[in-house]
Amino acid sequence: MHSSNGHSRVREGGPGGPDAVGSTGSVRYDDPWYDALASGWGESDPAPAPAAAPAARAEGVTAAEVYLEVQRSAAFQEVRSQYRRFVVPAVVGFLAWYIGYVVTATTAPALMARPVAGAVNVAMVAGLAQFFTTFLLTWAYTRHARLRRDRAALELRWDTQEMTRGTRSGTS
């Protein structure tokens, strides 16, 4: 339970102090529930300079400029294109497969009634295949996100938060 305290301290800019933003591989990218032993996000190493996103520490930079800059950074573009590369084809694919299934079931019942094995017919196979593809896509999505996105996204998160905090205290 307490593993996320450090986490929330980072968010609120409280007494947690400078948080770990090292873009080295040592940053933990698991969510707090899966590394209960981590003593907190904030305590590990004292902030090295953010590397994944360009540093925007200049005086007078607003939060809006920070977000625009992060959006343009190569690291963020990579996270976004990884996300879209999986999600766009997957959404098109499963929606087409589901709508095709519903339309076929309602308009061509004769086709769906064709027996396959014993009492099992095409309709039954297609229905169970819908369940199966849903489970399969769920697995594929989480695997893709875990391997291709999570680490980079977490680094960007801390970098961005570090940069916006700098702006807030700088401008106010």
Partner: protein
């Protein structure tokens, strides 16, 4: 249904109510009264807990009793429903769960308002969220009334009225005292009970047929009186083109509506990170998928063991298929086993309704307090704590839902649920997807997207055969129906997307690049997430 059943079922109901009330008091023992605590349970639930809670929020009595009943009566056409309810979760997983967790704080409007001029967008999104919630809530209340009256044997009006009032009062107590923390634990308890009951019945059905699924299907087809066609689509939705389009419309609403349901969206705020939100959706897909697979066995099992005619004789809509199946599996009406199983099923169904009702009430009270009250209150008015407003809102929504539930007592529950999904898909999903993914989206586009989906959806229902013009409609005496379909989804969902696009391209306001950058960066990385 003899006195034994009723006594035992009542005892189990009371046990469930006692346990959940105890949970409510236990978790609210040292509550802080902060908005974070009330709406999001402190955001400290684990993915597994939240996964069970999502499954608990989603698997309503309409699924447990309704879908098995439809399968028992119409065979394969009942199965079509469960496929839509499950596939919908891919939309949630891919496009909504993580991004909404990263961008929002408590409600759907948070995500949209971050990019737009806040007031009109909050009012629009709040209104549509409350509308969806109330429709869904009325469906559950009507279901509770007819179901409990049916299961307890008292078919009279009085039993129904008191059940609706009792369910409403209990849910208001849970929600306004316990907030999200208590509601979540009620969902978890309910999900475990429901899955346990379903697994037990499924195993008993499979044991009866010696694990031979093929034999189960052939017996079901034989006992149904329809023969082979029982196992193929077409018995319910294949009659004519109106019925076919109606089902395609419903299928669209089911698959796109889940991602716009306010009580599902609010569940993602109860976990600490987007990654935890993703893991909770994975848990819930596993649980919900397993559950719907088991309802298929139960539905065909009821057709094979009880027989379609016996099911129809007990309840024309098929809602009592599973209780009758339980009675038979336990050893028949006069045996102890049958009595116990029947009472368990009845208690589980009741717990199901109560938990779903609590979840929706909480989500809609959040919309009222966090979106509508915060935007509409007079500037001079004394600032009240948002949580206090939310508690009052929970009571108010409870009263409205009880009143509507009593009025709409004779409406078909499955229709009301389908309608709630259609409104959610037309009014909430377009604005949510546009805000997350469209760079050029503007305030006017957001407002138009919400009303452009909400108003057509509700109007088409008013003009549909559900309200007038057929013997089963709400006003059978008059006929002003112009729209042939019962479910408006196939028309109103594209209209919602179209209105959002139209509003955006016609608006004079230039889209704010920086706000879009902020939404995009935050949604994909979690920077600055609450």
């Amino acid at each position: 249904m003899t006195g034994d059943h009723q006594t035992l079922a009542l005892l189990l109901f009371s046990a469930f109510v006692a346990v959940t009330l105890a949970i409510t008091t236990w978790v609210s023992r040292h509550r802080h009264g902060s908005a974070e605590e009330f709406y999001a349970g402190g955001r400290l639930f684990s993915p597994m807990e939240n996964g069970f809670a999502i499954a608990g929020d989603y698997m309503s009595a309409a699924s447990f009793l309704g879908i098995s009943g439809l399968i028992a009566l119409y065979g394969y056409d009942g199965l079509l429903y469960s496929v839509g309810f499950l596939v919908a979760w891919l939309v949630v997983l891919f496009l909504v769960a993580e991004l909404v967790r990263n961008c929002g704080r408590f409600t759907l409007a948070d995500v949209v308002a971050a990019r737009m001029s806040e007031r009109p967008v909050r009012i629009a999104a709040g209104t549509s969220s409350v509308t969806v919630s109330v429709l869904y809530l009325v469906a559950q209340m009507v279901g509770a009334g007819s179901l409990v009256a049916l299961l307890l044997g008292g078919q009279g009006e009085a039993a129904q009225t008191w059940t609706v009032i009792g369910v409403g009062a209990l849910m208001v107590i849970y929600v306004s005292l316990g907030g999200m923390r208590a509601t979540t634990w009620i969902q978890i308890v309910k999900a475990v009970l429901l899955l346990g009951g379903t697994i037990a019945l499924t195993v008993l059905v499979l044991v009866r047929f010696h694990g031979d699924f093929d034999h189960l299907l052939t017996s079901a087809a034989e006992r149904s009186g329809h023969g082979e066609s029982f196992l193929a689509p077409g018995l319910k939705y294949g009659a004519d083109w109106t019925a076919r389009f109606d089902f395609i419309s419903l299928g669209l609403a089911l698959v796109l509506g889940t991602a716009g349901l306010p009580h599902i969206l609010s569940r993602f705020y109860t976990v600490p990170t987007a990654r935890a939100a993703r893991r909770s959706v994975v848990w819930s897909i596993g649980l919900i998928g397993g559950f719907y697979l088991m309802t298929i066995v139960l539905g065909f099992g009821a057709a094979a063991i009880v027989g379609s005619d016996a099911v129809r004789a007990s309840n024309a809509a098929g809602n009592t298929a599973v209780p009758l199946l339980a009675l038979d599996l336990g050893g028949g009406a006069d045996s102890t086993g049958g009595t116990v199983l029947f009472a368990v099923v009845a208690a589980v169904a009741f717990a199901t309704i109560l938990a779903v009702v609590a979840g929706i009430t909480l989500a809609s009270s959040a919309s009222v307090a966090h979106d509508l009250y915060a935007s509409l209150r007079r500037r001079r008015a004394k600032q009240r704590s948002e949580v206090a407003v939310a508690r009052v809102a929970a009571v108010g929504i409870g009263v409205v839902a009880i009143a509507l539930g009593l009025l709409a007592r004779d409406l078909n529950v499955a229709f009301l649920v389908g309608l709630a999904f259609a409104v959610a898909a037309s009014a909430n999903l377009p604005v949510l997807l546009y805000s997350l993914f469209w760079r050029g989206f503007t305030t006017r586009g957001a407002v138009w997207a919400v009303y452009g989906g909400l108003i057509p959806a509700l109007t088409l229902v008013l003009l549909s055969p559900v309200v007038s013009g057929s013997p089963e409609s709400l006003f059978p005496g008059v006929d002003f129906h112009l729209f042939p379909l019962q479910n408006p989804g196939i028309v109103s969902i594209p209209l919602g997307f179209l209105a959002g696009w139209l509003g955006t391209v016609t608006s004079a306001e230039l889209p704010d690049e920086a706000k879009h950058a902020e939404t995009e960066v935050r949604s994909l990385t979690g920077a600055g997430a609450a």
